[in-house]
């Protein structure tokens, strides 16, 4: 197991957002976390990525306890994430955004007088990821001028530029058109193979995307794991259909 969570509980005051969630992710897996609003998906991903400290339970990544250690240290350990709401650096160009990720990965951020333009490893690393995500033609465009779909792609691309071992994607296709969703997912899967990503965890509402790409699906409901199984098994689980997927979605 690359990532293992055991007995995660999270309280906000008296409200229990997560109630004894356990899960594991193996190398080579694409795992989707699904659940209705308020199921605890965002809390879970925030705990897995070190932003939120669990009230109880443990998160182990590469045999190290990482609960609440913060995103900076987790990124250095090889875990990256993207956000549900697009997170970009508005005034930086596409290339600068990716350069920042490469600089952080190479641990060169404290080089005060080094020339960024003269650092070929950073330049080439950023350009490689830009091309991989089809952003090469827009590399000099400020991120704020990108179309919404490309902003989403840049957000994900910057996480990939860290060359992580595992990536957590919080609704990677939210806010983009239906036509762009498949394109984004195809790009993402191709890029993950290219950089040698060991595992992907995504939170996703679009069941077409979930069932098309997942090796395993974890269904959350009211802060608990309702089911943790392969897509075919999930589709035949009446509790998941009633609480999470819905009959109409299943029929489609």
């Amino acid at each position: 197991m690359i990532l293992q969570a055991n007995g995660l509980r999270k309280f906000y005051g008296e409200f229990c957002a997560l109630d004894g969630v356990s899960l594991g992710v193996d190398a080579g897996e694409f795992v989707s976390i699904i659940g209705p609003n308020g199921a605890g998906k965002s809390t879970l991903i925030n705990i897995l990525t070190g932003i939120t400290r669990p009230s109880a339970g443990t998160v182990r990544y590469k045999d190290r306890e990482v609960g609440g250690i913060g995103p900076v240290r987790l990124a250095r350990l090889g875990m990256a994430r993207s956000f549900q709401l697009v997170q970009i650096f508005p005034d930086l160009t596409v290339l600068e955004t990716l350069q920042a990720a490469v600089v952080a990965r190479l641990g060169r951020g404290t080089r005060l007088f080094a020339s960024l333009a003269g650092d070929h490893e950073v330049q080439e690393g950023a350009l490689e990821v830009a091309e991989l995500f089809g952003l090469g033609d827009q590399r000099h465009m400020p991120a704020r001028h990108l179309p919404q779909g490309d902003k989403k792609l840049l957000d994900v691309a910057s996480a990939f530029a860290l060359k992580p071992e595992i990536i957590l994607l919080d609704e990677p296709t939210s806010g983009v058109s239906t036509a762009d969703k498949t394109a984004i997912m195809e790009t993402l899967v191709a890029a993950s193979k290219r950089i040698g990503l060991r595992a992907i965890i995504q939170v996703e509402h679009d069941m077409d995307i979930v069932f098309a790409y997942s090796d395993r699906i974890i269904a959350l409901h009211q802060g608990k794991v309702l089911a943790d199984a392969a897509p075919a098994a999930i589709l035949s689980d009446q509790r998941v259909i009633d609480a999470v997927i819905g009959r109409r979605a299943r029929a489609s």
Binding site: A75, F89, P90, D91, E96, A100, F113, L116, D119
Partner: protein, 318 residues
């Protein structure tokens, strides 16, 4: 290329000023060059990191008082030693102040820096025996590059050797800052300015980088502060007062914090404008207050923003 040409022409014009301009205007250039150094540093924090300090006069005063103490009580007259001492003492004070302040952002950061500035102001004002209180401390004429120039008339000294020394310090400070903002470190600061939460997910330690930016900007402020002393020959507590910090922010806004040279342009325009307005009306602060309001409303990117806005927008990116 075009920017390089403009900088070369501007530098040549400043270098030629003692030969073509009146002594009065040449002497006005001295605070401009000192403030140029200070604002290059302040803008690393403001324009590149997104933190607005309302207490940076603290470090300007530390630099100025370091020079005054060394020349008056320490018998040290070498300006090179004074600048190094100012930078060192500025660092010493900046480290604990930065460690506390950079944990906060926006108005909380601004208020905390203001508070530290006022603490130091009160210290230099009240510890009369040590600082001379409101009368200040003399800043004796420093030697330049090992040359004692005491025999030279003061105006000749300031408009000659000291002028070019200040210009060289400003040039060196600009060169170093140019390297810093175009380095991997500078890029990391820009990510923090734009989106600190996203920067953290890339593994960029936001607090740590803010701390470094704060300390570097304090060093620049202290060095610039030390350069402010010799022209007046005296340093007093107003250097540390909060209105002085406000002036630094005003100069940066006036020139444009989004541009590398914006704050330097802001310092130049502020000093000449202040001098001109003060010569014609006694209530210059009223005029400057109105100007600040106009800039914030109509030209939020300052004078440099007005210049760059005139350029035709690119239709496509290469």
């Amino acid at each position: 290329m075009k920017r390089g040409l403009v900088v070369t022409v501007a530098t040549a014009a400043v270098a030629a000023a003692p030969f073509v301009a009146s002594t009065y205007h040449v002497l006005l250039m001295l605070p401009f060059m000192a403030y140029g150094v200070i604002l290059l540093g302040l803008n690393l924090l403001f324009g590149y990191t997104g933190l607005v300090s309302f207490g940076h006069a603290l470090f300007v005063a530390i630099g100025a008082y370091t020079g005054a103490f060394l020349t008056t009580h320490g018998k040290v007259r070498s300006l090179e030693v004074i600048l190094v001492a100012a930078a060192s003492f500025g660092t010493l004070v900046a480290v604990p102040v930065a460690a506390l302040c950079v944990r906060y952002v926006k108005i909380y950061f601004g208020m905390l820096t203001l508070a530290f500035g006022m603490v130091f102001y009160t210290f230099v004002l009240k510890f009369y025996r040590l600082t001379g209180g409101d009368e200040g401390t003399p800043f004796l004429r420093p030697s330049l590059l090992g040359q004692s120039l005491d025999a030279m008339p003061k105006v000749d000294y300031l408009a000659g050797p000291y002028y070019y020394y200040s210009l060289a310090v400003l040039g060196l400070a600009a060169l170093c800052m140019w390297r810093i903002v175009h380095s991997p470190f500078g890029l990391c600061l820009k990510t923090i300015r734009d989106n600190p939460a996203k920067a953290e997910t890339l593994g960029i330690g936001v607090t740590r980088y803010r701390f470094y930016a704060f300390v570097i900007s304090a060093i620049y402020a202290a060095v610039g502060g030390a350069l402010l002393g010799p022209p007046t020959g005296n340093v007093d507590p107003t250097l540390a007062y909060w209105t002085h910090s406000g002036n630094l922010v005003f100069m940066t806004l006036l020139g444009g914090f989004a541009s590398f040279f914006g704050p330097v342009v802001g310092a130049f325009v502020f000093i000449y404008l202040q001098n001109w307005v003060m010569s014609i009306v006694p209530y210059w602060r009223l005029i400057f207050g109105a100007m600040l309001a106009v800039i914030v409303i109509f030209a939020p990117e300052g004078l440099m923003g007005l210049v760059t806005r005139r350029r035709p927008a690119p239709t496509s990116w290469p």
